[in-house]
């Protein structure tokens, strides 16, 4: 099946989306900023050619059709569940921490790009979203630490930074993280 290329110009940065037909329950898949999402588009059959015509400001309508994020940023992390996994005394990433990181990612809106995840020697899992806004870096770091503790760091495009520590068991935590990712300028599909 021939891929269909979609150009989506947002208020921030241009995005090129490649719509691909896939044999899933969804109509098709779309690749934005290197990440693949499932789309469900009314009236689109699985084997038909289709062109999405996106206009500036149309991102919302595209987001509303995204139903599934492909890929698991925590793939392979179960292998860090042993002490000294780095040969230099690293603490194990325990199952609670791994579960908490997975829970956090799953509770984020599906159209938010998957983070780049990495294990840390202190037993935490670091999640990162980094992108450019008007040529300046915007960064969101979220560390899931033992005991379901969550540390967040944000660098805004104006250079301001904030850091906070909270618990994943607090109801506000997920909302706070969602807000961080949204207010920093659509970490969503522009990320990576």
């Amino acid at each position: 099946m021939m891929p269909v290329t979609v150009s989506d110009v947002t208020d921030h940065i241009p995005i090129t989306a490649e719509v691909r037909h896939v044999a899933t329950r969804s109509n098709s898949a779309v690749s934005l900023a290197g990440q693949v999402y499932d789309l469900r588009i009314a009236g689109l059959s699985a084997d038909s050619a289709y062109t999405l015509k996106m206009q500036p400001g149309d991102r919302t309508s595209l987001i509303s059709t995204i139903t599934h994020r492909h890929g698991d940023p925590l793939e392979g992390f179960s292998e860090f569940q042993t002490e000294n996994w780095d040969g230099e005394g690293a603490k194990a990433i325990d199952s609670e921490t791994l579960g908490a990181a997975r829970e956090l990612i799953e509770k984020l809106p599906v159209w938010i790009a998957a983070p780049e995840a990495a294990p840390a020697a202190d037993g935490s899992i670091g999640l990162e979203w980094v992108w450019q806004e008007a040529g300046r870096p915007v960064k969101v770091f979220i560390d899931v630490e033992p005991g379901r503790k969550v540390a967040t760091f944000v660098r805004y495009s104006n250079g301001q930074t904030t850091e906070a520590v909270m618990s994943l068991d607090e109801l506000e935590t997920i909302n706070h993280i969602r807000s961080l990712l949204l207010e920093t300028g659509s970490a969503a599909i522009e990320a990576a």
Partner: protein, 164 residues
């Protein structure tokens, strides 16, 4: 040096740390903050005046950069065969002592702390850093660190100066 406070490091000397876990490099080749934050340790002796230290090596003394990094990766692969795919000598992160000392955002230094295992062992130390600002420090440190891939190591090693 015997009191643990650390030997003086020349301004032009380079502190570096091999990166042997592929997950500590982002897809674009830049450093992931977990490579730093998780390795910030409090000083082993409580009387030391810095808050955290980041273990590395001094280029002026380390003439075995590749051998040492490969040995670290070998140990990691041998200890955890199931994770072998992650461990290899991928790159080094590095910065000069002068850059660390002139850093405006944090009071930091590079100190020579040789160990029985490694004459070149050195710590990048940071003073007055609260526990709840480790992510801020890690992000700031990423900004002054350079990452050089293992394939580009000759250029990195060309910056070696004679030991002080």
């Amino acid at each position: 040096m015997t009191d643990g406070s650390g030997g003086v490091v020349q301004e032009r000397d380079t502190w570096f740390r091999p990166i042997t876990n592929s997950k500590h490099l982002r897809k674009d080749g830049t450093l992931h903050h977990s490579a730093i934050k998780g390795a910030l340790d409090p000083p082993p002796v409580a009387s030391m005046t810095w808050s955290f230290e980041f273990s590395g090596r001094l280029l002026s003394i380390a003439h075995d950069v590749v051998k040492d990094a490969n040995a670290r990766a070998d140990i990691q692969r041998q200890n955890r065969p199931a994770m072998a795919k992650y461990f290899a000598f991928h790159a080094v992160m590095h910065v000069t002592a002068a850059t660390v000392r002139q850093w405006q955002r944090f009071k930091a230094d590079v100190l020579h702390h040789p160990t029985i295992r490694d004459d070149a062992h050195s710590n990048l130390v940071v003073y007055d850093l609260p526990e709840d600002e480790k992510l801020t420090f890690s992000e700031a440190l990423i900004e002054i660190l350079t990452v050089t891939s293992a394939a580009q190591l000759p250029a990195f090693e060309a910056a070696r100066i004679p030991p002080g």
